[in-house]
């Protein structure tokens, strides 16, 4: 029994019917503190539609077995479904399926690049160029690999509007640069970064480009060939899929020449007492029994997003951000961070003067509104902004304009808590 989504169309629509979409997400019917749930933390983790929940359950109930080794029906079905999941994700971002390595999440995918590529290719005097707006997951691995190899880490500056300073980028990406690792969309500011420009700058210096796509792939069309990036990392649970599954796209010729990251079962071709040789792509990078059910859930999530149409998803979120920014600018003492609506993803970071983000989040929670508060795993960016943290509301396919009104109302209640 798989769930049929409530909208049926062979072509991807250009407008999103939010009320219909919401019916696919059972969790949205629950209440929190006796108020309807207003879930505005999809940038941290999105909710799951029935299509995903049912795909995982269907697999668990009918086909579960270990993959690639069993010579029986269950294992063959599981293997086929797991491999199809690679194909579905590959098609979603215009890659070949052998170029999609499943990992636990974005963090593991970025560590894979840092260890498998960085540890073997970086030398003393080499430079890795990051940006000031990186999530810790695209920053700490590079700092550590740099420490071990003697390479240096450089950071492209963020300007006052929350954009990357591209002139500064042009001055730090040079002949010593071997890797440029940049986030596609900032998880704090929502800034959509000019990845293709970085690709040109990096490649002109013979460097590679690694993109942290955790906040872009769920929210906009992504074409890794058009971006011309060498690596692209993402998480399943931010794009309507389960936790425990994510992935790394890598250009085939680069992945082929890369050393494995994790060693063990399923990633080998032959093992002797003296050594081992490696399996074909992508299995060379998928040691051990993978998260099979989660991969199948991710494929269902991708299928769901494709049916909605990524252009429609992007347009919907831009409408929401535009509305949210308009409304929030009218609230006294509310500080907003990041660029204009047309230059950002579905993320709005803000602070109310005099109120710590965690207090804001607690008060909003009592209105049923779930937001994220804190440094958002981007402590260096907080330093640049001169703050300890922000409140962050993030939107997705199921977010409505009415929910933004509830948010604004609850922010008003928080303001009243602070007595004059």
């Amino acid at each position: 029994m798989t769930h049929t989504p409530t909208f049926v169309s062979s072509r991807a629509p250009t407008v999103l019917d939010v009320e219909r979409v919401r019916r696919d997400f059972p969790i949205l019917t629950r209440t929190v503190h006796d108020r309807p749930l207003v879930y505005l933390d999809s940038a941290a983790s999105s909710q799951r539609p029935l299509a995903v929940i049912d795909a995982v359950r269907h697999y668990d109930q009918t086909s579960h077995a270990n993959i690639h080794r069993g010579v029986y029906v269950l294992s063959e079905e599981a293997t086929a479904a797991y491999e199809q999941a690679h194909m579905r994700v590959a098609q979603f971002i215009n890659a070949d399926w052998q170029e999609i390595v499943f990992t636990k999440n974005t963090t593991e995918a970025l560590n894979l690049v840092a260890y498998a590529w960085g540890l073997h290719h970086l030398r003393e005097g080499d430079e890795v160029v990051l940006t000031q707006m990186e999530h810790h997951s695209n920053l700490v691995p590079w700092q550590q690999i740099a420490r071990r190899t003697g390479a240096r880490v450089q950071y492209v500056r963020v300007d006052g509007q929350g954009h990357l300073d591209m002139e500064h980028a042009a001055s730090v990406i040079g002949p010593r640069t071997k890797m440029v690792a940049v986030t596609h969309v900032s998880n704090v500011l929502g800034t959509v970064n000019p990845v293709h420009e970085f690709s040109k700058m990096a490649h002109a210096q013979g460097a590679l480009l690694c993109v942290d796509g955790a906040q872009s792939i769920p929210h906009m069309p992504v074409d890794v060939r058009a971006l011309d990036c060498d690596f692209f990392a993402f998480s399943g649970h931010k794009m309507l899929g389960p936790t425990g599954i994510g992935g790394l796209y890598g250009k085939r010729h680069i992945l082929e020449h890369l050393e494995p990251f994790l060693y063990g079962g399923d990633m080998i071709r032959e093992v002797t007492f003296e050594g081992a040789s490696w399996n074909d792509l992508p299995w060379k990078f998928e040691a051990g029994t993978p998260p099979i059910a989660q991969a199948i859930g991710l494929a269902a999530a991708v299928e769901y997003l494709q049916r909605l149409g990524m252009d429609a998803v992007r347009a919907h979120e831009q409408d929401l951000v535009r509305y949210a920014l308009e409304q929030m600018r009218q609230v006294h003492d509310l500080e907003l961070y990041g660029p204009e609506a047309d230059e950002r993803g579905g993320v709005v970071s803000f602070n109310l003067k005099g109120l710590h983000p965690h207090d804001m989040a607690s008060i909003l929670d009592h209105h049923g509104v779930a937001i994220r508060a804190g440094h958002h795993c981007a402590m260096p960016l907080m330093q640049v902004l001169g703050i300890n943290g922000t409140c962050r509301a993030s939107f997705y396919v199921y977010t409505t304009v009415d929910e933004i009104d509830v948010l604004i109302e609850a922010i008003g209640a928080a303001r009243r808590l602070l007595r004059p």
Binding site: P357, H366, G374
Partner: protein, 134 residues
């Protein structure tokens, strides 16, 4: 206010904190961070010749709960001996606050207490080292 966490006495301590500031020559000092949110807390203290906490103060960045907790804790330990202060446990700290806290917020509420305990441990360790080298 529907939110039971933010009762009058908590807001009072937040808005008019007791013992907030820094000491020039503290005998005890520790700075700690809450890795979950990046909040920071520094606690300093001076002892009188009978081993009482003659002056205590905190300084930090944090939410209403963690700053109110710091203010209340400083008030509670001022004038006490180290032995008395060391007997304070998590439960005492929660009772001092006297408001219901969610699991996550308990972590923030405990930051001042944890910092103070580490300051005492550090001080006692230094004393032991100093007496061993005498």
């Amino acid at each position: 206010m529907s939110n039971e966490m933010y009762q009058e006495h908590i807001l009072d301590h937040y808005e008019n904190p007791h013992h907030q500031g820094t000491l020039a020559h503290p005998a005890l000092e520790f700075r700690d961070l809450n890795p979950l949110c990046g909040d920071e807390m520094r606690i300093q203290a001076c002892l009188d010749d009978r081993g009482h906490l003659a002056r205590v103060c905190f300084d930090g960045k944090g939410c209403i709960i963690s700053l109110a907790a710091a203010s209340m804790l400083m008030e509670a330990v001022a004038g006490k001996t180290l032995e008395e202060v060391k007997k304070l446990d998590r439960q005492d700290m929660l009772e001092l606050l006297g408001v219901p806290l969610t699991t996550m917020r308990v972590k923030y509420a405990m930051l001042p207490w944890r910092t103070l305990m580490k300051a005492i441990l550090l001080y006692e360790g230094q004393r032991r080292e100093a007496s061993a080298t005498d």
